[in-house]
Amino acid sequence: MSESTARVKALAAHEYRAAVRSKILLVLLGILVTITVVSVYVAAVDHRSKVADYAAYRAAAQASGLARIAPSTLAPLSLLRGALEYLEIIGAVVAITLGYLTVSRERANRTLTLIRSRPVTAGELASGSLLGAVGLFTTLVAATTIVGVVCVGLIGNDWINAAQGFKLLLAAIAAIIYLGAFYCVGAIATANTRVAANGLMIALGIWLLVVLILPQLGDTLDADNQIPGGLFKALTLDRAGETEILKHFSTYETTRISIEEASFAKHYERFAFAMTEVQDKYRGFSLGRLLGAKRNDIGWMIFYSFALVFGLRWSFRRQPTIPQETT
């Protein structure tokens, strides 16, 4: 192992240990895991009755000698929607908090300048901290996913198959990347402000805009959402009619979609929802077709992640170092 790799590993292990010792982070994680379990449990209980209904229909159809039995339209992975949404909203707050603590803890202990005075490059410091954080997010996402799958199987009476498991794995990787990006936001904002609390407030402001305001704006501007029950339904228009009318609102639709595109959270949500069959239109797609349909969201997630990792490295490089004195 090269010296640089060893330093990165040491920094990552330090980051992971320090995060586990932080009480406030543990409380936030506790909130996230509790409500995730509740959301999956509630969805799984509801799903169990639908699985039983389908089994009863299937048995009755077989008993009556029906040649063609309609396949089940149930999507067990979609029960994890609540868990994905909680990772999107509360997980991002946890990630920002971890990023903020990375910088503020070292500053408060006066160890950040000390680390920077050692033969550790800004790149190694950024990579080590980010790797430690990613390690923590992997633990968190893995725990949430395993609990979710077991709840769906045991409570919902519907175990996922290997293909669904692979799609879920991709959604979990997207969640880890998403949380890593918000970790960078928290660390960058804190590293670039003199008072750490101000950095935290800036990062939370970005979170508010990206996770809550922009996606909500896009949804609110959707023409069909203007009337309870749907505008096009109120106008007695079918899908073809809706498409025809929306041709006259192309600029409006472009603006609305652009607002959503600006949100990193929306790209993660679209990708994760497609992988977990939350959206009906993607059910039954092969993996290749699914990835092709979501290439735009994948591209944006990669772009935002790389930009933030470079930002983190740049921010750490700007941290002051103790001048090396010769005696």
Partner: protein, 303 residues
């Protein structure tokens, strides 16, 4: 002495530009709700005109204009979402800043002839007045937005409902001001205080509605609350706590006041408001109790 503390609090927020930031954010938020309302109106009218043409070409009769189905104050339905999300976070910051700077100069303040109870009441009154001023500005922007979009001045009854909605919003936001204050008094570091207050906001806004009503986070972004049925054993048990989920009660009471989702009797609206009032009083009493025992001798750690 309480009035002096309240005045000092307001002057301090004005000097720190906190007041301007809070005011600007809330006005932008209200204007955004107005723009969205205007956009909604414009889209509905445009889609309706195109639908009439399309249906006529197919030989179908034109349906009634759906805009007429929208209540007069529906323009403000987004405010019912923005107050618990953005407004509550701003209120947390207001409560936090009201007390956190005194952590280092507390000894000087209490060397004067002032009781800690008077000090805390003064701080609460100061923050409450700042909130009233900000919400009055928001009310003015809402009234102007309504006049522009509906092309007529709101009626006396509409203005009364608007005033009631803003009074309810003030009470809701006061809960978060008090949470911001209490977390400063129970933690030793200012950042920890802010994060603890954020944790409380996450529980109230997302966790509690999930447990009592099965509302997923994105459903919480919807102005209209649609709780899960109590047919599930889990919700038969947890729904008993639903009246104490203040964000759900706030949204339901706001929808009734603005008449954007049916109408409810004044008694049922008051029943929805009662937990908010109760929590505000409890938090104020807890805050007064905590400030009495708070140690101002060591100051706070800025990090």
């Amino acid at each position: 002495m309480t009035a002096t503390i309240a005045r000092q609090q307001i002057v301090s927020l004005l000097r720190q530009r906190t007041f301007v930031v809070l005011l600007a954010t809330l006005i932008v938020m209200t204007a955004l709700a107005g723009v969205l309302g205007w956009s909604s109106h414009h889209t509905i009218v445009g889609v309706y005109d195109e639908a009439v043409k399309l249906l006529a070409s197919r030989g179908d009769p034109a349906p009634p204009n759906p805009f007429l189905l929208k209540p007069t104050l529906a323009l403000l339905s987004n405010m019912v979402v923005y107050i618990p999300f953005i407004g509550a976070l701003l209120a947390l910051v207001l409560g936090h800043l009201s007390l956190v700077d005194d952590e280092t100069v507390g000894r000087l303040i209490f060397s004067r002839r002032i009781s800690r109870t008077e000090y805390m009441i003064g701080k609460i009154v100061g923050a409450a007045i700042v909130l009233v001023a900000i919400l009055l500005a928001s009310l003015a922007v809402s009234t102007i937005s309504l006049a522009i979009v509906n092309r007529t001045m709101p009626t006396g009854a509409d203005l009364g409902r608007l005033a009631a909605f803003y009074a309810l919003s003030w009470l809701y936001l006061m809960v978060f001001v008090l949470i911001g204050m209490v977390t400063v008094l129970v933690t030793r570091r200012r950042s920890l205080a802010l994060l603890s207050a954020m944790g409380a906001w996450l529980v109230i806004t997302f966790a509690f509605p999930q447990i009592t009503s099965g509302l997923r986070p994105t459903q919480s972004l919807n102005p209209i609350v649609d709780p899960a049925s109590t047919s599930q054993a889990f919700f038969r048990f947890t729904a008993k706590a639903r009246p104490y989920s203040i964000v759900e009660q706030y949204k339901a009471a706001s929808a009734s006041i603005l008449r954007t989702a049916g109408t409810e009797s004044t008694t049922s609206i008051l029943r929805q408001v009662a937990p908010l009032l109760g929590l505000s009083i409890v938090l104020a009493v807890v805050g007064i109790g905590l400030v009495d025992r708070h140690d101002y001798s060591s100051g706070s750690n800025d990090e």
